[in-house]
Symmetry: C2
Subunit: 501 residues, 2 copies
């Protein structure tokens, strides 16, 4: 049938609003698709809505270009069937195995906006419940890579490192990359910004140099310097991932198949041949136990084998934050201090050198951990770090103490004496975020006590930093409410025989 | 933070459009929720979109009333967490059992637009894959009933009848209701319009009387006449169902738990104490085999027991259409002819009397099937039918031949001689819909041959009717393409010994 079109900024996706009677005339229902025939034909998602009058269709503005139509034009509109990939989604709901072609069709349809949020949600839920085998995940990974660019290095091998995240204060990446590059290996590191955490690697690296660069710049710096600290989001690596994350986020799920394909697709796109995966393991992280961590490690290694990437995994301690600092500037300062030669926090140094050591051993060196420590202690890592910073338009003569955290500070003291029995990662992240992290660069937390330490009543457990006074106060209130530190005496519970009357 | 609001007809649901920078400032992501603080506070679903400028939020018009704000107002906007029921949806994804309270919260949140399409899709997918036990489905059913009205009759018991559908030409409902009412039982029948079929019961009943009535009118007519033929959609019975169907539809799924709760909730809302469920079983229907039909029957009866409804099930033959007519006016005519005393098609008469007989036996009568046949043959059913039609503003003196199908007719003839081996329900439905059914009341199909009958080449298999010439022609083309009849000789395949060289 013919219908008068009106364009409106209703949505970024191709969307058509029609009233119920008109929709019925073309045999289409809410959430069906319609074909609009202008100079060119386009498919839009139908939203049946009483807010549109009869004989009229409201189209999102992106359809202007797609159809070549203008406001007031009379265009043909008809029912359009849903893409074939909906059938494959239903097959996954039924627990079936999908072929390479089916997986590729789903990925491409998500990328090209041909699947609706309803359908993507059903896909992720089916993936979450019914899963994929390693062969399917490998097909999935390769299909995701093909939605974006690939970086082609003239050097080989290409080393890479990925942390599954989930532990706050994990500022080891610049140290690992600097050590590997100083040892002569090439490690073109792309990192992410915080998704639900208080500070991603890119969030703190960008306090002292640029992290947004295109793939060509990443390639050039990596080949010249040996390492780089880029934000992956600025590059067009497996971009379909971003569309999927938007639907995963409100559901609070990250299906195993999707997570593995998401991580490995970025590594494959960057041409990685050798990869170390850090799996932080502990209460309050994505990976609560060693058993779960081992299962992830097996998945990563099996998938790496299918994709021709040599993968090794590091299961790391994550019951409490890594080091003392949480938040962009605070983490940057702590990280650079270690590169400058500072001997604490030991947990950061140890983790960075252990992981860098695994990479060095992949590169054929022996006693990787000790070699990594030597490279750090000798100042060679700092020199390499300076080169990366300068290549990324930062100051070659950077000093840790140039980085000044937020001007507003609140202290949180212990309300009793005893030992630190546990520290809640989740609560500290919430408090740091309330203080403004990661968008307020000076916001965060500085810890003075870690697990097992003796604390006296009134002693400061941690400080909250921020760029905004009100936020710091709110964060302090949250700290009083959450009580992220559990401090008790050595006697946890007294069991006595019941009194006799 | 404060933001300037602009209202726009973007969606019927409470929706807020913001650009990415502003969304990040309040810590909200695409598909999160935001709280808008006007004179009153309201929650909206956030759509991060580059089509909105900085410092501005575009709100759907329904939020005007909800917030008491006007265009250009500066309102507070902040991140709002998702409802608790999202956690329960995730528990169902993990295969867990939900409590009565959790199920109720999900149902109420769907009804009140507090769950997004993404979340409802995940819920239905989780239900489809992980299912519910009968106890959960009973809780689900009761929660759905509580989203709408309940009809309270002064008479008891209340008989009801439901067909799972899936077979075209199933026009038995008016005959069943008329027989039951003529036997002194009360059967307040609510029916649906076609969802994916060519003609629902309400689609053909409304060709001769009103089907849209409120619950009070339904109650009055039922109590006075003993029966009624109402469209359930006009009443506010378990209205949450309509919102769920909109999300099920594009996925092409109908999870067992959702289907059972949907059917039983409407019966419970209408106060049914006794229910017969017709389960049409055969190739090309929802229920392909007797085994599947028996499993459904068990579910209906178990659920009936929990809900205090006495349920009996009829597994009926559905390998081909019931009777000869498909489409609103054609079905109405065939149905009324039978009430007038016409002795064919036998399949309609037999099915109607068998089901009516089960209802009569539930009402304490013996030999229900024979009693039903007597009531039909005696004209008592037709008299009762006339009373219902008149109560529903139709003509008491209605005659079958007053109902004239579409003026455009195309014949479809057999291209070979042989026997009708099979008839495709699905293809016939597609052809009838192409001809205009159910919205063109005169459109449909009249069958001249059924399974097992002998056909000569060139003999007419069926006629296509329609109100619109072009549609009938399109339907005829479709018939030539689909070939819904499979006609072969008695010798299906000749197996010969391989020739020796």
């Amino acid at each position: 049938m013919n219908i008068k079109v009106r364009f409106l900024n209703i949505s970024a996706e191709p969307t058509a609003l029609m009233n119920a009677e008109d929709a019925q005339k073309i045999g289409a229902k809410d959430n069906d698709r319609v074909r609009i025939d202008g100079k060119r034909s386009a498919i839009a998602l139908l939203n049946v809505s009483e807010i549109v009058g009869p004989g009229e269709v409201v189209l999102s503005v992106c359809l202007k270009g797609m159809t070549g139509a203008s406001d007031g034009d009379e265009l043909g509109i008809s029912y359009a069937s849903s893409p074939e990939s909906v059938r494959s989604i239903r097959r996954k709901m039924d627990g079936e195995r999908l072929s390479k072609e089916e997986i590729r069709a789903i990925v491409m349809d998500i990328l090209e906006n041909r699947l609706s949020k309803i359908e993507i949600s059903a896909w992720l839920t089916a993936l979450y419940i019914n899963g994929m085998d390693i062969e399917e995940i490998a097909d999935f990974t390769e299909a995701m890579v093909d939605t974006g660019d690939r970086v082609e290095f003239s050097r080989s091998p290409v080393y890479d490192f990925h942390s599954m995240g989930g532990v706050p204060g994990n500022k080891v990446t610049p140290i690992v990359v600097a050590i590997a590059a100083a040892a002569g290996l090439m490690l073109p590191k792309t990192s992410s910004r915080a998704i639900s955490s208080a500070c991603g690697t890119s969030d703190f690296v960008e306090t002292f140099c640029d992290v947004e660069m295109d793939a060509e710049t990443l390639r050039r710096i990596s080949e010249e310097v040996g390492g780089v600290l880029a934000w992956g989001g600025a590059m067009n690596l497996a971009p379909v991932d971003d569309l999927v994350i938007k639907v995963e986020h409100p559901l609070g799920i990250n299906p195993r198949a999707q997570m593995l394909a998401s991580i490995l697709s970025k590594k494959l796109a960057i041409g990685a041949t050798h990869l170390v995966v850090d799996i932080p393991t502990g209460a309050g992280t994505k990976v609560p136990t060693i058993e779960v961590a081992k299962a992830y490690a097996r998945d990563f290694m099996d998938l790496g084998e299918k994709l021709n990437i040599h993968v090794e995994c590091a299961i790391t301690y994550a019951d409490q934050p890594v080091g003392s600092a949480i938040g962009p500037k605070l983490e940057a300062r702590e990280c650079i201090r270690i590169l400058e030669g500072c001997k604490h926090p030991a947990s950061v140094i140890e983790k960075a050198c252990d992981i860098a050591g695994m990479i060095l051993e992949m590169g054929g060196m022996v006693n990787g951990g000790e070699r990594a420590r030597e490279i750090l202690d000798s100042g060679a890592a700092m020199k390499k770090f300076r080169e990366m910073v300068a290549a990324q338009k930062g100051d070659y003569d950077i000093k840790a103490d140039d980085i000044v955290p937020g001007e507003f500070v609140a202290e949180v003291a212990s309300v009793n004496s005893g030992y630190v029995h546990s520290i809640s990662n989740k609560d500290l992240v919430s408090i740091a975020k309330a203080a403004g992290a990661p968008s307020d660069k000076g916001a965060g937390i500085l810890l003075f006590k870690k697990k097992g330490q003796r604390v006296e009543k009134g002693e400061v457990l941690f400080e909250i930093y921020g760029d905004n006074k009100a936020k710091v106060e709110r964060a302090k209130e949250l700290a009083a409410k959450y009580k992220p530190y559990d401090i008790e005496g050595m006697l946890l519970k007294r069991i006595a025989a019941p009194r006799t009357r």
